[in-house]
């Protein structure tokens, strides 16, 4: 391309973009930038470096070039002017998106416009004038750039470190250290970009300046009428009070802080260093600082541990936790005795400064290891319960000046070492399950000992009853096995339905029974009261009838597996009458037909369950009818079953009949017709639940 045509192209582009810029400046207030064009504006902070560099280079060239009119001067001027114009347009886009009309913005915009005009004019004038203009443009671009930088980085960004002392904390703005945390704690739960309650976002200063749906939140000309201050000062009951009733409220001092901050101009620049005792913010800031310091769990004056180190120390058998965010303190615990090695503890020394709580409970820690533990100088809580300590080496812990809780339960320590710990602030020592004792006189005042529960503390208590190891229905040759899971317990029992006591037979060997047995047993042990009596009704598995049939249907709610329920060799549980192991009757009596076939049956038993509160009572009566031809049945026995006379625990029982040779039987079971007067369902029908039939 010829140099002339390039010049022409640049010139035309320059005039085109100039017209656009002029148009935008004239109609700035009516313009709305569509969302998808935002990126153009947002590139402004990047693109702006091009005109700066070009102007600086151009100015240097113009100032020092000897040639009168170099052939590339025009192209360079046009290029620079074009870039300046485009950058200005982009800046306008950005300002329109984020419409914070501050003084800084005003200065930045107009100095940029002056620069643009200088650059455009410089393209149309002859050499000496254009040279002067370009050199003139240099300070303008510096000023413009500085205003822009102040918008993004804050005013006085560059020189602030010179003005404030070297301490980083002192140089931090009050806004960031005090105002923002208060807002974050109490306000931004609702006023954040996601929730945007009242269209107000308090998570950043620039959004605060924008205000909410009812306008700006502060009025710097009349600070006391600021909306935010009015709302937080309203009485709690008031509908408009902020934060709303029920939310975490601002304290009076926090209200004072916000008030003072807005009164003094609501700026983000004032640093802690600027605070002199006569400053309005001085008192609320000091009070808030004190409050925070008091409310931190303790003051940690040690450094943060390296996060990488902490991560590496964590494994399945050793956990190292951060006490809470922002605190350098760590807590460590060890797990699984069989996986423990003393090296695991030594590795932890990498963070020995930071560990404030160490849990070594049940680990094989010996007296020598206290030397390692003593290196954790900032320990506050040390758990050595059920370790292998014998009671020497505690002098190693004397340097742990912050120690306030020492757990030594279940170890072989004595209490003598405690006299050495008299200079700690306050120390709780847990000596349960140790032989350690110390007289009141020799115990330092700062130490509290917890000896915990000891058996002498109270009267003996009862044992639990023995347990039955067998199923409730046992095999033909099976014997009954009783047990108690407390070692050293003696079981006494009877099989003749008498109450067992300490003179009854001692259980040593499995018990042999005949058909049905009622084992009544108790447990005894030195130093304990005898257990409650327990009764096990145990049945041997009997014969199976050739055939059996329910002549009346069970209640549809509890049909079990119909007749099969009765011969499945499974007892039901009285805790679960809803299971298939039970048959329930209520509206009508149960009538069961049995064909014994050729079998010789001498005894029939029917087992049932009782749960009085659930209306499940013993049957009122049970009848046995027999027949040889299956046509005419004759009742040979009717058993009236005694009814309970009050509420009591659920239990199981059975009814039995002796039988002479016969082939067919019917058993009729009658539910209670009317529940007794003391029952809450008085007058209503009772239930009958049967679970098994036994033939011997």
């Amino acid at each position: 391309m010829q140099i002339e045509s390039l010049e022409r192209l640049l010139k035309n582009l320059m005039w085109l973009f100039s017209s656009l810029l002029i148009f935008m400046i004239v109609f700035e207030n009516q313009l709305v930038i569509p969302h998808w064009l935002y990126p153009i504006g947002r590139l402004h902070p990047m693109i702006l470096h091009f005109p700066i560099v070009l102007i600086v280079l151009l100015a240097a060239w113009m100032a020092f070039s000897k040639a009168k009119e170099h052939k590339y001067v025009k192209v360079s001027l046009y290029t620079t002017a074009l870039v300046v114009i485009v950058t200005s347009i982009m800046g306008l886009f950005l300002s329109l998106e984020d419409s914070v009309a501050t003084d800084l913005m005003f200065r930045h915009k107009w100095s940029a416009l002056v620069l643009t005009i200088i650059m455009v004019v410089s393209t149309g004038v002859r050499s000496p004038v254009s040279r002067i203009l370009i050199v003139l443009a240099l300070p303008v671009v510096i000023v413009t750039g500085h205003f822009g930088g102040s918008i993004t980085h804050g005013e006085n960004f560059v020189f602030e470190p010179w003005e404030t002392p070297g301490n980083l904390a002192e140089g931090l703005p009050i806004f960031n250290v005090f105002v923002e945390p208060v807002l974050n704690d109490k306000c931004t739960g609702c006023h954040n970009p996601n929730k945007l309650k009242g269209e107000l976002d308090l998570t950043s200063f620039s959004k605060m300046v924008e205000g909410g749906e009812s306008g700006p939140i502060w009025n710097l000309n009349a600070p006391d009428s600021s909306r935010i201050l009015k709302k937080i000062r309203l009485p709690l009951e008031h509908e408009d009070h902020m934060p709303p009733e029920g939310k975490n409220q601002l304290t009076q001092n926090e209200i004072n802080l916000l008030t003072a901050w807005i009164n003094s101009g609501a700026d983000t620049a004032t640093s802690i260093a600027a605070l002199q005792p006569d400053h309005a913010l001085y008192e609320p800031v000091t009070l808030l600082k004190e409050y925070w310091e008091q409310n931190a769990a303790s003051d940690y004056d040690f450094e943060f541990a390296d996060i990488e180190t902490i991560n590496n120390l964590n494994n399945s058998f050793r956990s190292v936790d951060i006490y809470y965010p922002g605190a350098p303190a760590l807590e460590a615990s060890f797990f699984v005795r069989s996986a423990f090695s003393i090296n695991a503890l030594k590795e932890l020394l990498a963070v020995k400064e930071q560990i404030i709580s160490l849990d070594l409970g049940y680990m094989p820690i010996t007296d020598q290891d206290l030397e390692i533990i003593g290196q954790f100088k900032n320990l506050e809580k040390l758990n050595l319960n059920f370790t292998d300590l014998r009671g020497t080496g505690f002098e190693n812990l004397l340097d742990c000046k912050s120690l306030r809780s020492l757990s030594l339960a279940g170890t072989g320590v004595n209490a003598n070492f405690l006299t050495d710990f008299a200079n700690l602030d306050a120390l709780d020592v847990f000596l349960w399950e140790t032989q350690a004792q110390i007289g009141k006189d020799s115990l330092p005042e700062n130490i509290t000992i917890y000896y915990g529960y000891s058996v002498e503390d109270e009267d003996p208590i009862a044992l639990t009853p023995p347990l039955l190891q067998n199923d409730r229905i046992i095999g033909k040759n099976e014997k009954i096995i009783l047990e108690h899971n407390f070692p050293g317990t003696e079981i006494h029992y009877t099989t003749d339905n008498t109450t067992p006591d300490s003179t009854s037979k001692v259980y040593n060997n499995p018990i042999e029974i005949h058909n049905i047995a009622s084992i009544r047993a108790i447990a005894l042990k030195e130093g304990w009261l005898q257990s409650k009596e327990v009764v096990f009704e145990v049945f041997k598995a009997g014969l199976v009838p050739d055939s059996l049939k329910l002549l009346t249907p069970p209640d549809p709610k509890n049909p079990g597996k119909l007749e099969k329920t009765l011969v499945d060799f499974e007892k039901g549980e009285i805790s679960d009458f809803g299971s298939e192991k039970w048959l329930g009757y209520r509206e009508n009596p149960m009538e069961l037909w049995i064909d014994l076939g050729d079998q010789h049956v001498a005894q029939i038993a029917l087992a049932y369950g009782v749960s009085i509160g659930s209306y499940i009572m013993p049957p009122e009566a049970v009848e046995l009818w027999v027949s040889d031809d299956n046509l005419e049945f004759k009742m040979i026995e009717r058993v009236e079953i005694p009814q309970p006379d009050g509420y009591g625990p659920s239990f199981e029982s059975f009814v039995e009949f002796n039988l002479k040779a016969t082939r067919y039987c019917k058993i009729k079971v009658f539910p209670v017709g009317k529940l007794p007067n003391w029952h809450s369902g008085k007058g209503e029908k009772g239930w009958v639940f049967v679970d098994e039939l036994f033939l011997f």
Binding site: L168, F304, G326, I461, A462, N485, W528, Y647
Partner: protein, 448 residues
């Protein structure tokens, strides 16, 4: 507040959802399932004894909805506790004579008499108490803590569930109560069984040793990784983690359940029934062991507290089951120096009516569900000791002072663990969910 501003270094990523210094590290929740009557436990109302059989004034009931079980009742005769009450400890907390052992720890506990809930039937109330919502699709409190704080002991689940059944009228518990909801399933509660081996299938079968188990798991993990690469389902990763934890549990659990750790003293403290697996006492003992071993949240449920009738017959049985072991747990943690970092909670899902359900006799009575007030206690974990909080009216029907909603209790529990309940949340189905949903205030007055 912002100390890392000064230090320039911080290690937040390890601290989970903790926002400030925690008081408690772990929770043991002794849930009394079925709702024990506040009027026979901690809320002493002599007026009800004086007004025996008199009608509940409409002004007190104030339009309270009733359950289907008493809404047809023509009369609502008031009835006071058949069991005596005494004040105990230096704090003078009122405790029913049914709980002689809890009376001994009166100066360790904080009784809240002003709990209230929104549900009036067991299932929604229980679900509300456990998950912060009545519907049963949200993560349980233990799962939230597992998610928020992570596991302390990586050889055990962070959230364990132990069940026991009393002798009173019972209500079911369902696994939805310890569900992880929409959280990763690694946070689900692990139910322990009642047998001699509380965790089933933990032992290697005959012929399999630890080495071959390790090799098998490595191969399965390889296959799972391949599946993950192909499908990208996060549950596959969870599965791998779960297998690994189960492997580690093979060593950790036998140490914890080792009976040789049970001295005679311990058995006497908890009562001899702690030797019988599946009893409340055995579960309390196991809960202490798990908690001591770094399990974040141990959830017990003891069933049988639903005394619609026969309060007189069943309450003593239920009380007998839990009284000794509950107080033993508190004392046991204390004597080990662990009570200050372990929060113990005792209570049900709602209260019971001050009037009789069914027939009122001189000897016996029943009580229906009552959501407006009930009593629970908290111990340890940074809660004030020997304190009664909140108050109900003379009728034991309405709260007159310091009400504590279920959401408030949740917020307070999280606060004790160093968590801001508004910050512990999880984004799901387009919005953020919290245990306290959109409410809950921390009850600062009970925090020491």
């Amino acid at each position: 507040m912002a100390p890392d501003l000064f230090s320039g270094d911080s290690n937040d990523q390890l601290a989970g959802f903790k926002s400030f210094a925690p008081k408690a590290k772990r929770v043991i929740y002794l849930f009394q399932n079925g709702a024990p009557s506040q009027l026979e436990t901690f809320d002493y109302k002599p007026l009800l004894n004086n007004m025996f059989g008199e009608e509940l004034p409409e002004s007190i009931r104030g339009g309270q909805r009733l359950t289907g079980m008493t809404s047809n009742q023509e009369k609502f005769p008031l009835v006071g506790s058949k069991f005596g009450f005494k004040q105990h400890g230096k704090s003078g907390i009122w405790i029913s004579d049914l709980f002689p052992n809890m009376a001994k720890i009166a100066d360790e506990i904080c009784v809240i008499k002003s709990m209230h809930t929104e549900a009036i039937n067991h299932d929604p109330a229980l679900t509300f108490m456990q998950t912060g919502a009545q519907q049963g699709n949200r993560p349980s409190m233990g799962s939230w803590l597992s998610y928020g704080l992570g596991s302390e002991n990586k050889n055990l689940p962070a959230f364990c569930v132990l069940l026991s059944r009393g002798r009173g009228n019972g209500q079911g518990v369902y696994s939805k109560l310890w569900t992880n909801g929409f959280l990763d399933s690694i946070h689900q509660g692990v139910q322990f069984s009642k047998g001699e081996n509380p965790i089933l299938y933990l032992q290697n079968p005959d012929g399999v040793n630890l080495q071959s188990r390790r090799e098998m798991l490595d191969k399965i993990a390889d296959l799972n990784e391949m599946a993950y690469d192909e499908f990208g389902a996060p549950e596959i990763k969870t599965k791998i983690q779960q297998y690994e934890m189960a492997y580690r549990m093979q060593t950790a659990v036998p140490e914890i359940t080792d009976v040789s750790r049970n001295s005679d003293h311990i058995i006497k403290m908890y009562g001899a029934d702690c030797l019988e697996p599946g009893t409340y006492a055995a579960n309390c003992l196991l809960a202490r062991k798990l908690s001591e071993s770094g399990v974040r949240f141990v959830q017990l449920y003891h069933q049988g507290w639903d005394q619609h009738e026969n309060v007189v017959g069943e309450m003593p049985l239920q009380a007998e089951d839990v009284d000794r072991a509950s107080s033993a747990l508190v004392l046991d943690l204390k004597q080990r120096g662990l009570l200050d970092e372990t929060l113990v909670i005792w209570g049900g899902e709602f209260g019971r009516t001050n009037y009789c359900q069914g027939k009122l006799t001189e000897e016996n009575y029943g009580r229906d569900h009552h959501p407006r007030c009930f009593s629970i206690w908290l111990a340890g974990g940074g809660v004030k000791r020997g304190m009664t909080y909140g108050k109900t009216d003379e009728f034991g029907y309405n709260i007159v002072e310091n009400p504590v909603h279920v959401n408030d209790l949740h917020a307070t529990i999280l606060h004790l663990l160093g968590i801001d309940h508004e910050k512990l949340n999880y984004r799901y189905l387009g919005r953020r969910f919290r245990l306290t949903d959109v409410s809950g205030h921390v009850v600062k007055d009970i925090i020491s």
